[in-house]
Amino acid sequence: MTLRVDLQVISDWIPEHARVLDLGCGNGALLKHLQQRHISGYGLEIDNSKFTKCIEAGINVIQADLDEGLNQFADRSFDFVILSQTLQAVKRPDFLIREIMRVGKQGIIGFPNFGHWQCRIQLGLGGKMPVSKSLPNAWFDTPNIHLCTLKDFEKLCQQYGYNVINRSVVNHKHKDTLAIRLLPNLFGQTAVYLIQNGNS
């Protein structure tokens, strides 16, 4: 099974034998892949059918609602806490990010960039809420309730004193282009950040 490109990026950032927590782990593809590299951990997933797929994949999975936080986990109990393409769907992203940084020594957070030029044109010129490959739903039925741009995210990290250790920004084909490298907030569709507490 080939791994989704953003998950491949995440996988490449994690050294062997690390302990990880994957929030909103979907069908467990990332954890399954990491298992082969002797990286152990747990997934959290609320969706019934995805949860069952995790069991079938032999993933340790806890059925839980991310909006309720990560109370069951002790401070700094994981090397990495991963939140991939889910940040925009939670009730309080700020609360969840703080939980991630409490439980994990490092956080890996990926999200669709609302600052992408197509979003800007659709809203700025078209006057309509953007619909794109990475944000396919209409405004009324979208699970994506807290959208942000790269700048927004980085500002929040700065506010909480989190350092950006690594960043990967790609387009919907998961390609890194010159345009993205020059103007990531305008040309990047998906971003993945590796962040760490500034004082650790």
Partner: protein, 382 residues
């Protein structure tokens, strides 16, 4: 006339017996000089004996977990919904073993057994048995069957406590522990309910200090009351409401103390059928085993430390409307396993049926149960 049994049933089954002449030292300090276990098996043990699944029963359960003893049986074994060909515990793949616990009244050594020292029934003199004693006796059964390591040890409620204890006490003999609708120990409220049940039994004039069989009687009233109380705690308010509501048996209020509401009729039926099939001394022993279970006790109440020897992977399941062993209690086990870095999967199932849900074929529950058992089969390569 031949009566056909359901095709997804293990069919007709016959219990087996294991007699052990080696004394068994119990946790309470007393010794059983010899003992027997009655048990049933379903499916076939494979040649490398890697496909064995142990089923641990709950308070009033027994060794008859699946199938039928005769074509006349009205009901199959108590966990027939989960055990059988193509079911969650698929007997086409797994060899399933279910013993009756020591202290029980269905054929394993218990209060109704003749005490070799006196030539009379043990009755109230039967030693206190604990979850640890059950696990030890089940391990002796495993030895006798040539099973070194269970593919899975599975149980609900008090059975789940046995599965947890197996994983803690004999980690090298358990690949997977499935702990369903259980708790790491009873709460004060749980113990309180048990104490009311015991008081009901012991205060029945027919109890005779536990020597009722010598008087050719049984404490029908007390045991029945205990069962009624138990039943209320097994169901949820919602389930009772759905099933019985305030429905009246005769359609109108009678202004009397006979059965008026359907729920009263149901409880009386449950209690009267239970007293015919269960022994009061066994009931007392089982409730005490529940009360005493507390693996964290010897670790300063630190469950994380208690579970640290576990090498098995675990599946923990709870049910939303279970207030006897609520999801919070299962989460105590889950959180201890998580913080000890153990392999654990946890699901809280939406169910209205209360504690009893663990015995019912609730689709989502069965889906998770079956998927997990498929994972077990894959991992032990069967």
């Amino acid at each position: 006339m031949s009566v056909s049994l359901p095709t997804d049933s293990v069919g007709l089954v016959t219990p087996s017996h294991l007699h052990i002449d080696t004394p068994l030292l119990l946790e309470c300090g007393r010794t059983l000089p010899q003992f027997s276990l009655i048990y049933e098996t379903y499916g076939k043990l494979n040649t490398d004996k890697s496909n064995a699944v142990l089923i641990c029963h709950a308070l009033s359960g027994d060794h008859h977990a699946a199938g039928y003893h005769s074509t006349e049986d009205r009901k199959p074994g108590w966990w027939d919904s989960a055990i059988g060909p193509g079911k969650a515990i698929d007997t086409e793949r797994f060899f399933v073993v279910c013993p009756n616990n020591l202290g029980g009244c269905k054929g394993s050594t218990g209060p109704n057994t003749i005490n070799p020292a006196t030539g009379k029934q043990y009755g109230p003199d039967f030693p206190f048995v604990t979850v640890a004693d059950w696990v030890n006796s089940q391990a002796i059964l495993a030895d006798a069957l040539g099973i070194e390591k269970w593919a899975a040890v599975v149980g609900g409620s008090l059975g789940g406590m046995q599965a947890l204890h197996w994983a803690i006490a004999l980690p090298e003999r358990v690949n997977h522990a499935l702990i369903i609708a259980a708790a790491p120990k009873l709460s004060a409220q749980n113990i309180a309910f048990n104490e009311v049940a015991r008081t009901a039994i012991k205060s029945d004039p027919e109890f005779h200090e536990g020597r009722y069989t010598e008087f050719n009687t049984i404490p029908r009233h007390g045991l029945g009351l205990a069962r009624m109380l138990g039943h209320i705690t097994y169901l949820s308010d919602e389930a009772m409401g759905e099933k019985f509501g305030r429905e009246l048996r005769s359609g109108k209020i009678q202004y009397g103390y006979d059965v008026e509401f359907q729920i009263e009729s149901y409880l009386r039926y449950q209690s009267s059928s239970f007293v015919e099939r269960f022994d009061a001394n066994s009931y007392l022993l089982m409730t005490k085993a529940l009360d005493y279970f507390d693996p964290a006790k010897e670790f300063d109440d630190d469950l994380r430390q208690a579970v640290s020897p576990i090498t098995a992977k675990s599946l923990i399941i709870s049910f939303t409307s279970d207030w006897r062993f609520s999801p919070v209690r299962s989460e105590e086990i889950v959180n201890a396993l998580l913080s000890a870095g153990k392999s654990v999967t946890y699901a809280e199932i939406e169910a209205t049926q209360g504690h009893d849900a663990f015995l019912l074929p609730i689709p989502r529950y069965m889906e998770i149960f079956a998927s997990y058992m498929q994972r077990v089969a894959k991992e032990v390569a069967i």
